[in-house]
């Protein structure tokens, strides 16, 4: 599941056991946590930090869950991160987003099927992820025109940078999408 070794029995380590339970309680896995998390399990000290970061970025804050998952899906596709694109794209489906919109996030540079204001938010998020130094006053104004507050903009920027983090880890660790587990069953 990962190129990094994992403990055979996570329950032996009390810290790891509690972390895993918290992940499952928050929906980050079914019988065991998602591969992005378990791939770090040989280092519970690091995993505790990245899990707290992930909860802050994906579960908490002001942006609706659907917008967060759209940003993660779209940036992951642009970064060619198959694992994260699959995970967050499937989460959008679970949240009730149509397959046409999910496909647009993944494959369409124009994001034509994504309704406003989400399209503008995604265009901004992709620009932050790919070319952060090119963000200018016009980009912020476009968001303001759609009613996005400054506080929400800060969350979009942090989340976009966070997506670069999770994509990098998923690629380095060579994890496979959870959906491939199910296709084997």
């Amino acid at each position: 599941m990962s190129r990094f070794s994992q403990p055979e029995d996570p329950d032996v380590n009390e810290d790891l056991k509690m972390l895993y339970q918290d992940m499952l309680d928050n929906g980050f896995g079914d019988k065991e946590p998602i591969h992005w998390l378990t791939s770090q399990s040989s280092r519970p000290d690091i995993l505790a930090g990245t899990w707290a970061f992930s909860k802050g970025m994906l579960l908490q804050g002001e942006l609706p869950m659907m917008v967060k998952q759209m940003i993660a899906t779209t940036i992951s596709a642009r970064n060619n991160c198959n694992y994260c694109q699959d995970l967050h794209g499937n989460t959008l489906g679970i949240l009730g987003v149509s397959q046409a919109v999910v496909a647009s996030c993944v494959t369409d540079p124009e994001l034509a099927e994504v309704p406003q204001p989400h399209r503008t938010i995604l265009q901004f998020a992709v620009k932050v992820s790919q070319h952060p130094a090119e963000i200018d006053g016009d980009d912020f104004q476009s968001l303001r025109d759609h009613g996005v507050t400054q506080s929400e903009m800060l969350e979009i920027m942090a989340l976009s940078a966070y997506c670069n983090f999770i994509n990098t880890w998923a690629d380095i660790s060579c994890i496979r999408p959870e959906s491939e587990n199910h296709s084997d069953e």
């Binding site: 190129r3 990094f4 070794s5 280092r43 690091i46 969350e155 920027m157 380095i172």
Partner: protein, 178 residues
Amino acid sequence: MNESKQGIGNSGAEDALALFERVMQGSADRPIPPVISATLSMRPDIYSAVMAAGKPILFEGALPVSVKQMMVMLIASHRDSLFCVEMHKAMLESMGIDKALIDSCIDDPEMKLVPPMHRRLLYFALHAAQDPNNVDDPRLQRLRDSGLNEEEILEAAMVASFANFLVTWSNVRAPMEG
């Protein structure tokens, strides 16, 4: 990482963290990017989440903190992240790392002044941050052959990943005021 592997020590890690916190609090006479200062004042929840990961990844762990700061500085220099380069350079100086050694990380492509094992870690981190889809097993094996264990290699990969967050976030340089 045992003593024989270390060429750059871990002393001064507390000084580096203290300097970082002073900069973030605005008491170190060092400008910070507008996106970070606005996050600190308006969204401390986001900043807390960032630091929940940043502290164990960059200021604690198995690898020398100095080498981890060098990794981020090197990655930032390749992404034109002036703030990160200067911030991590200042933290290295606060740890007592020789200035010539610090400069060798970013000014000398061969990093001649960097001890060999740490040089390998820096090359690995840069490659992992820039091209994570092409980190292959032979590249990891070279780190193992150098004497690094799996947990240390994981930590190096995590530093590279987190550096991609830091340089992206801090590279938003435009002020947000409308």
